[in-house]
């Protein structure tokens, strides 16, 4: 089935338009827009992870350990900081730790393990390790840092990191051969190898980048709230949900960074909107939010698969928008 011309792009855009409309309506309920900034911080964090996750999923992989990587980096930083080291050194360590454990993930995948199993195992391993290191207690009441890295120019740092990671990812994935390699590897790793693409090197870098970004997020979080290992559970699934809702296929080879941005915006808005609504209407509790997000995820995934099947051109409007 072919959809011709401009008509063909409507089914792709339609859901987003509808959802944004609905969400906009909900937002008219918000009394203090300033509160949004703080509420949205956690979603900015998810967004950063989702963007990096997009690149990994495009290449046919997946990283379930991002939450645990944040936890471990955060604990490492907290321990060092509490022991008296300056905050800057501790921050550097956090990023280093993140990069290292990300590199371990990359190493396992390059060895030949399925990314699903490898990152599932390291997810357990890193989070358990984080808990062991801090003795099961969260590390708070940390000494004041010389520079408060949790805020830049009045905005929480997470938003800046999001903007930076987004720009970097757009450039890397859609403007360099590294990105082209990711698509090829996700489509057919064997053919990519036969086409002289450095498959293993690319994969390793992707997972290392994921770890580095997790470390960066850990720094900002620890400065703001301390090293709380439990706080990052489940964030990887939220990130994957954003990627899927955005339209990147979980099997790899198709999708893009802009799509994920859309997914982040949609899910964040729905969750926040429902949260505000639940203040108004008591019957909408945590369970309702969960169910809505879950159903949304599945419905959109089915919709995107149907789109991908009936679309005989590889490039859709979204992808054209991602041209540099």
């Amino acid at each position: 089935m072919k959809r011709k011309g401009f008509i063909k792009n409507i089914p792709v855009l339609l859901p987003w338009l509808l959802l944004l409309l609905a969400v906009g309506l909900v937002f008219s309920q918000v009394e203090r827009p300033a509160a949004l900034v703080n509420v949205g911080v956690q979603w900015a964090r998810v967004g950063v992870l989702a963007i990096v996750m997009t690149a990994i999923i495009l290449s046919g992989g997946i990283d379930l350990s991002v939450g645990s990587m944040i936890a471990l980096s955060s604990v490492a930083m907290g321990l060092l900081w509490k022991a008296g080291w300056p905050a800057e050194v501790a921050s550097g360590l956090a990023v280093l730790v993140g990069a290292t454990i990300g590199a371990i993930n990359g190493f396992l995948v390059v060895l030949g393990l399925s990314p699903l199993v490898a990152t599932l195992a390291t997810m357990a391993f890193y989070s358990g390790l984080a808990l062991m290191l801090c003795g099961g207690e969260k590390i708070t009441k940390l000494p004041d840092p010389a520079i408060d890295t949790s805020q830049i120019a009045g905005w929480p740092s997470e938003y800046w990191i999001l903007a930076f990671v987004f720009a970097a990812a757009m450039l890397l994935v859609h403007g360099t051969r590294f990105g082209r390699w990711c698509y090829a590897i996700g489509d057919n790793p064997m053919a990519a190898r036969f086409a002289a693409i450095p498959v293993r090197r690319t994969q390793w870098w992707l997972y290392t980048a994921s770890g580095m970004v997790s470390g960066l997020l850990a720094v900002v979080y620890t400065v703001r709230k301390g090293a709380i290992p439990d706080a990052h559970r489940g964030i990887e699934l939220e990130a994957i949900a954003c990627v899927v809702v955005g339209g990147t296929l979980i099997t790899g080879g198709r999708g893009g960074i802009l799509k994920t941005l859309l997914g982040i915006v949609v899910i964040a808005n729905i969750d926040i909107g429902l949260f505000f609504l639940s203040g108004r209407f008591k019957f909408i509790g945590a369970d309702a939010r969960l169910m809505v997000v879950g159903v949304l995820l599945i419905v959109v995934a089915v919709w995107n698969e149907w789109l991908a099947r009936t679309d005989d051109r590889v490039e859709t409007l979204n992808e054209a928008a991602e041209r540099i």
Binding site: S114, A121, T122, A184, F194, I240, M291, I298
Partner: protein, 869 residues
């Protein structure tokens, strides 16, 4: 009186259209018993569509099919097979993780005994018969992925011959075979003829068509051109009918260099482009390879399958590790460890299997074309891209090295489109737009794109592995014309082919590989076909090239290796634990351990069942909580325990079953990967649990319910019995029921499963439903043990369930795993938990060890797999 022979199969006015394409238009076809009827035509002519209709894969839009006079309509391949039509497809799909015997059995449906249990002895007998017909030493218990492509194909053909079919369709049967195996194939065809079976034979190889067939039908553009007796047809007529125009005479098609003696670099007349000295393979598939190819020369490499041609080519290109030897390009030795090294040195390689090794099917033509050369098509500092075609005689070594290296950062779609356009024009690739998905092109055009992508690299040496396999005649001669042009520009070409006439016609020099060594080489004009074929034959027949025999013995030892090592670890751990703690083996402790093992065996089996079928379920924890909540709610009802308990149990089981089926259904119908579906469902189920549970408690629970897990006085644990029962039942289902074996088949190869008639829908739903049901059973156990409903119940349990399965030997990619392994995995995990409690490691810190165990298990499995191949 009807003098003509009775018709076996008759198709009248069959028409089939796809969106935008008329694949078949009013085609008539008939087949007589005991005849070999060749079906010939270019790619896209409609042969595959016709065959798919006959074998039941597709249904015609209009027209009538008759088998032995009776009107027939086949809705699926299984129906066609039941009426006696057997098809051997070109891409021999098989089940890699299943044994040879089971592969053979699945072709015609697993044999069953009384009560529907799988008949293993009948399966073995059939397998031995088939292997005997092939005549090669192949072990029936060997996993099929250890066999070579040729052997797999031959087994399939032999199995077909042994079955009493009425019509046998052979689609390009010799594409994976060469002379020796092909001779065996022709014998089989003769047998079929003698048995009165009608054979439809599709082949691109004219000599086969003329050698075997009684009648020939030509299709072109979806129409039948004619059907004639073979004796009324000659090569020219055939080609004319296929292509619709006169192709040049094959002798004038000889794109030979006028002075072939000048092309022999041994005599030092031309530049030695490629030189290979004493090349040895790490795995011994080729040894002591010495040859060279001069600029402008096309060297044809011939040899049987297993002679080491592809392995040698891959070794030169850096895809396979070399034990020793050197490769020189333009008299400069090169260190080649990876394909990138080869490309930088100016070597290009076109792989043998275009679909799996050559193309990224989901990407566009443009993306596929520029893939290896992305570093050249950048936007900065280049106004017009330099390609093979725009600067005709420029080769990479003439370009400034620095300029080429430093600009590989920014990709430019505009430049990529420019160069792709040049490639498409020069090679006459028939396509609509370069942004179209490459999977929509015909085989010949796809091959041209793969060729073009390497031309963009301006290589000095091109190695082509079966360049015209699966390519129609028109595209074939175009490709050879292009190859000659490239050679004339100074490139050295190494052409590997199993098509002897092609080798003779298009090469300047011919080289034959035999058992990993170069047996002979001659200038093409100075050798006959017989000489070439003889040089390719192995010297001693007893020299067993097939490692299958050797592997037959190793499969026995490795089959149970996983379970044995698990058991060993468990024994060691138990001994250590009993030594370091006083009352480890007290009845209470032991009982607890067994009860927990029972629970986790069931959960592990729930995860394993789904994973074996090729899926995954990360909603197990939430589903368990939901099932427990529903059961718990029912227990609160003011009813007699005799009613409320069974009702609660039933509710839990049904919720589990329903949840599992829902997961399976959504992923099946929505065609979404199960990880996404179960992720969403996990969130939804958890939401439902919160909605059901919040603010509600179970009070006054009937006592008897608790007995399911533990009897308060005697300490008897019903859980253990339940666990044993479930494990035993699952074992029977997995190993001895057809539905269970279908799980393995689907997980092993979904495409083969479809062809063979294993219903993907039914098997998928069975897998998820069974998994959900087991989750429901576990929910009952948990509910009776804890007597509580919690909204956070079983959070994260799916990780442990998957861990149990993976540690127990279940392969995450599907098709592999045993019930015993999963149970052992559960035992091991509980023991580890116990040990950790002893070390005072509590709560989620345990996860470190779970993660570590999973990694150890999969790394070990990977290690063993690498050692075996």
């Amino acid at each position: 009186m009807n003098v003509a022979a009775p018709t076996l199969l008759q198709l009248e006015q069959v028409t089939k259209s796809f969106p935008g394409v008329r694949a078949l238009a009013d085609v008539d076809f008939d087949l007589r018993p005991g005849e070999v009827h060749a079906l010939v035509g270019e790619n896209g002519a409609g042969k595959s569509t016709l065959i798919n209709i006959i074998s039941g894969v597709l249904q015609p839009d209009s027209g009538c099919c008759r088998l032995e006079g009776q009107v027939c309509q086949w809705n699926d391949p299984v129906a066609a097979r039941k009426t006696g039509i057997v098809t051997v497809h070109q891409e021999a799909d098989f089940f890699p993780t299943l044994s040879v015997a089971e592969n053979i059995a699945l072709l015609h449906g697993l044999p069953t005994r009384k009560f529907g249990f799988v008949n293993w002895s009948a399966m073995q007998k059939t397998a031995q018969k088939v292997i005997g017909a092939v005549g090669e030493p192949i072990g029936a218990g060997v996993p099929a992925d250890r066999l070579s492509v040729a052997h797999r194909h031959m087994l399939q053909i032999a199995a077909t011959v042994l079955q009493s079919a009425k019509v046998v369709v052979l689609d390009e049967p010799t594409s994976a075979l060469t002379s020796v195996e092909a001779a065996w194939l022709f014998q089989q065809v003769a047998r079929l003829k003698a048995d009165g079976v009608g054979v439809i034979y599709i082949s691109h190889r004219q000599e086969e068509v003329f050698a075997l067939s009684d009648r020939i039908t030509v299709l072109r553009d979806g129409r039948k051109i004619w059907t004639r007796d073979r004796k009324d047809v000659d090569g020219k007529l055939l080609v004319q009918a296929m292509v619709g125009r006169d192709l040049e005479d094959s002798s004038s098609d000889r794109q030979r260099r006028p002075d072939s003696s000048a092309g022999d670099p041994e005599r030092g007349h031309t530049v030695r482009r490629l030189e290979v000295r004493d090349l040895n393979d790490v795995k011994g598939r080729f040894q002591g390879i010495n040859f060279c190819v001069g600029a402008g020369e096309i060297v044809g490499v011939y040899g049987l399958i297993g002679a080491g041609r592809t392995e040698m080519a891959r070794g030169i290109f850096g895809l396979e590790p070399l034990a020793s030897g050197s490769v020189l390009v333009d008299d400069e030795a090169i260190e080649i460890r990876r394909p990138q090294d080869a490309v930088r040195a100016g070597i290009a390689y076109l792989p043998e299997d275009r679909l799996r090794e050559g193309l990224c099917r989901g990407l566009s033509i443009r993306a596929n074309t520029v893939l290896p050369t992305l570093d050249r098509w950048t936007q900065l500092f280049r106004s017009s891209p330099q390609t093979e075609f725009s600067s005709a005689s420029r080769l990479p070594h003439q370009e400034p090295w620095i300029k080429r290296w430093s600009l590989g950062l920014l990709a430019s779609r505009r430049v990529e489109q420019q160069v792709t356009r040049q490639v498409v024009q020069q090679l006459e690739v028939r396509q609509r737009t370069m942004e179209q998905s490459i999977s929509q092109l015909s085989g010949g055009n796809q091959q041209k794109v793969v060729l073009g992508r390497w031309l963009l690299a301006a290589p000095k040496v091109m190695i082509l592995d079966e360049p015209t396999r699966g390519v129609d005649i028109g595209a074939k001669s175009e490709i050879h014309r292009i190859l000659r042009q490239i050679a004339d520009r100074g490139c050295a070409i190494l052409m590997i082919s199993s098509d002897l006439p092609e080798i003779q016609q298009y090469s300047d020099r011919i080289m034959v590989l035999r058992s990993g060594n170069i047996s002979d080489q001659w200038p093409a004009t100075e050798v006959t076909a017989t000489q070439i074929a003889e040089a390719a034959l192995p010297i001693e027949k007893a020299c067993d090239q097939t490692p299958a025999a050797r592997k037959k013995t190793t499969s026995w030892t490795s089959r149970g290796a996983g379970e044995w090592s698990l058991a060993a670890v468990i024994v060691v751990l138990s001994i250590w634990l009993s030594l370091t703690s006083v009352n480890f083996f007290s009845w209470a402790n032991f009982g607890n351990l067994l009860a927990e093992t029972a629970l986790w065996s069931i959960l592990g089996l729930a995860a394993a069942t789904v994973i074996i079928a090729g899926g995954i379920d990360i909603s197990i924890g939430s589903l368990l909580a939901l099932a427990a909540a529903c059961g718990g709610l029912l227990l609160k009802l003011p009813m007699a325990p005799q009613i409320s308990i069974p009702l609660a149990i039933l509710a839990s089981l049904l919720v589990g079953l329903g949840g599992g089926l829902l997961n399976g259904f959504v992923s099946l119908v929505g065609r979404v990967h199960p990880i996404v579906v179960t992720l969403g469902m996990m969130i939804v189920y958890r939401g439902m649990v919160i909605a059901l549970v919040s603010g509600r408690q179970i009070n006054s629970v009937p006592q008897a319910f608790g007995w399911i897990s533990i009897h308060p006085e005697s300490g008897f644990r019903g859980a253990i019995v339940l666990g044993l029962l479930v494990s035993a039942t699952l074992y029977v289902v997995h190993a001895h029921r057809r539905a269970g074996r279908h799980l393995y088949a689907l997980g092993s190869s979904p495409s083969a499963a479809r062809l063979v008639g294993v219903s993907q829908a039914k098997t998928w739903l069975f897998a998820f439903g069974l998994g959900g049901l087991l989750t429901g059973v576990a929910a009952v156990m948990v509910l009776s043990a804890s007597m509580q409903m919690q909204s956070q119940l079983a959070k994260g349990w799916e990780l442990q369930a998957i861990a149990v399965a993976v540690i127990g030997g279940v392969s995450i990619t599907g098709g592999r795993g045993t019930v015993l392994g999963v149970v052992l995995g559960a035992v091991l995990l509980r023991l580890v938990n116990l040990a950790l409690v002893r070390w005072e490691i509590r709560g989620e810190q345990v996860d470190v060890f779970i993660g570590g165990l999973i990694l150890t298990a999969v790394l070990l499995d990977l290690f063993w797999k690498r050692r075996r191949t």
